[in-house]
Symmetry: C2
Subunit: 251 residues, 2 copies
C-alpha cells in the first residue's frame, strides 16, 4: 500500500487498538535464529559501542568511566546498557560508548587505537555506514561503496590482529523511506551498503544485526515517523526498538 | 550479615557468576500480585511522572512536547517511557515528566495546577517524600511526618476532584542503607514516611509501587552502591530496576 493508505491504516489500527504482533515478535521475525550467533556475557566483560550519531546520541565526550549515563548518551547504546547492567548485575561488566556524530568508517579508523584497541573490549558492537553513503550522495565525500568495503575490512582486520579473542556485533545501517531526509533517491544505492555490511559480518564471523529488517517490521505497527525523526535518527521508540534488537544478540 | 560480610559474599558470587534469582523474579518477589492493581494503557492515554530529583533525572525544563527524550530526563521515567512507547506503538500515548529536583510535597502542590491538572493525565505516577524526610533531618525544613501526610492527602484530594477518572501509581520513597548519604540515623524514622505513603495509596485506591522492597531484593544480587550512587539517587542499573518495577504496574 502507498504511504497515505498506510497512514490511514495506522490511524484506524490505532483507534481500534489493533496490533497484529508484539514488538518482541517483530524482532524475532526480523532476526531469525539461523542468521544470528548469540553471544554470552561473562564476568568482567568490557563492552564497547562504536558508530556515528545514532550510537553517539548526545553522549558527553569528557573522559568518564564505564557505565556512566552521560558517557553512554541517550540512544540505543544507553538503553541496551541499562538493560544489561540490570540483568547482569552480578557480572561486573563495563560498558563504553565511543560513537561520534558524523563519522564514516575512515574516521573510526583515525581514532581506533584510542577509542577501541586501548579499551580492550571483549564485545565490540559497530554500526557505521549511513554517512559513508549519505555524504557521498550529497557531494561532501568522495568515497564509494568500494572505499567503504575496503576501509571496513581493514578496520576489522586491524581489530582482530590487536584483540584476537574479540567478539563482534556488526549492525546493518538502516534508512526509513518517506521520513524527511530519506526519499526514493536513496534506493537501491543504499542497499549496496547494507549488503556489504552483511558480507563483512560473515567474513569476520560476527553476529549480524539486521536493523533495516527490524525497522521494516516495526512499520507494521506504527509509521516510520514514529520510529525515526528524519529517516535515520531514532525517536525514543526507535531507540528502544534498536536496544531490544541489540539485546537479542545475547544469549 | 553485616556490610563487609555481604561485600565478600557479592565478590564471591560475582566471581562464581552465581545469581540466585533473576531481576524479573526480584521484582515479582518484591511486588506480590495481591499488593497491586495493574493498570491498562488505552489509546491516547496521557501519562505523567511527578516527583523529585529521582524522577527529574536531568530533564530539560523548556516547554517541550510529550515523548521527547530531553524532556523525560535520563532516569527511570525515561526508561519506562522508552519501553512503553515501544510496546504500545499503536496506542498513540503521550508521556510527560515534571519531576523537579529537591521537591517536597508542598512544592508539588505549589506547581500542581500547571504541572499536573492542566496536563490532564489519565495515569499519574508520583514518587515524593525523601526530601520531606531528609530536609527535616538536616534542619532545612520544619515539616514533620504529620505535615507530609496532610500535604500529600490534600494534594491527592485536589487531584481527584479536578480529574475524577485519573488512575494513580503511588511509589514508595526508598533509601539504601550504607551508601553515602544514607546511614543508620535514617532509621526507623524514614520508615514512617514509607508506611504513610502505603496508607495514602490505599486510601486513594492507587496502585502502590514498593520501591524499598524492590531495592532490598536487588541487594541480593549486587551491593547497594551498584543500584544507587548515594543511597537515594540511582545508577543506570538502579534506574532500570525502577523502570522495570514501574512497568509491572501495567497490565
Amino acid at each position: 500500500m502507498n504511504l497515505s493508505t498506510r497512514r490511514s491504516f495506522f490511524k484506524k489500527a490505532a483507534i481500534a487498538g489493533i496490533t497484529a504482533v508484539s514488538i518482541p515478535q517483530i524482532i524475532s521475525a526480523a532476526m531469525p535464529q539461523h542468521h544470528n550467533k548469540k553471544l554470552s556475557i561473562n564476568v568482567g566483560d568490557r563492552i564497547l559501542f562504536q558508530g556515528d550519531s545514532i550510537t553517539d546520541a548526545g553522549r558527553k565526550r569528557d573522559a568518564l568511566g564505564p557505565n556512566d549515563q552521560s558517557a553512554l548518551g541517550t540512544g540505543y547504546a544507553f538503553l541496551a546498557s541499562a538493560a544489561m547492567l540490570n540483568k547482569y548485575a552480578s557480572k561486573n561488566i563495563n560498558i563504553f560508548n565511543k560513537g561520534i556524530s558524523g563519522d564514516k568508517v575512515f574516521e573510526l579508523a583515525d581514532r581506533w587505537d584510542e577509542d577501541c584497541i586501548a579499551l580492550k573490549p571483549d564485545i565490540l558492537s559497530i554500526m557505521i555506514g549511513v554517512n559513508d553513503f549519505w555524504h557521498k550522495k550529497n557531494g561532501n565525500y568522495e568515497g564509494t561503496i568500494d572505499t567503504y568495503i575496503k576501509d571496513y575490512t581493514n578496520l576489522l582486520e586491524r581489530t582482530k590482529k590487536a584483540l584476537p579473542n574479540i567478539k563482534l556485533i556488526i549492525a546493518e545501517p538502516f534508512a526509513v523511506p518517506g521520513v524527511k531526509a530519506v526519499d526514493a533517491s536513496w534506493f537501491p544505492a543504499f542497499s549496496d551498503y547494507r549488503k556489504a555490511v552483511k558480507a563483512i559480518a560473515e567474513k569476520f564471523d560476527a553476529t549480524f544485526l539486521p536493523y533495516q529488517s527490524v525497522f521494516e517490521e516495526a512499520q507494521k505497527h506504527a509509521p516510520g515517523s514514529y520510529w525515526t525523526s528524519d529517516g535515520v535518527h531514532t525517536t525514543i521508540a526507535g531507540a528502544q526498538l534498536m536496544s531490544e534488537a541489540w539485546l537479542e544478540c545475547l544469549k
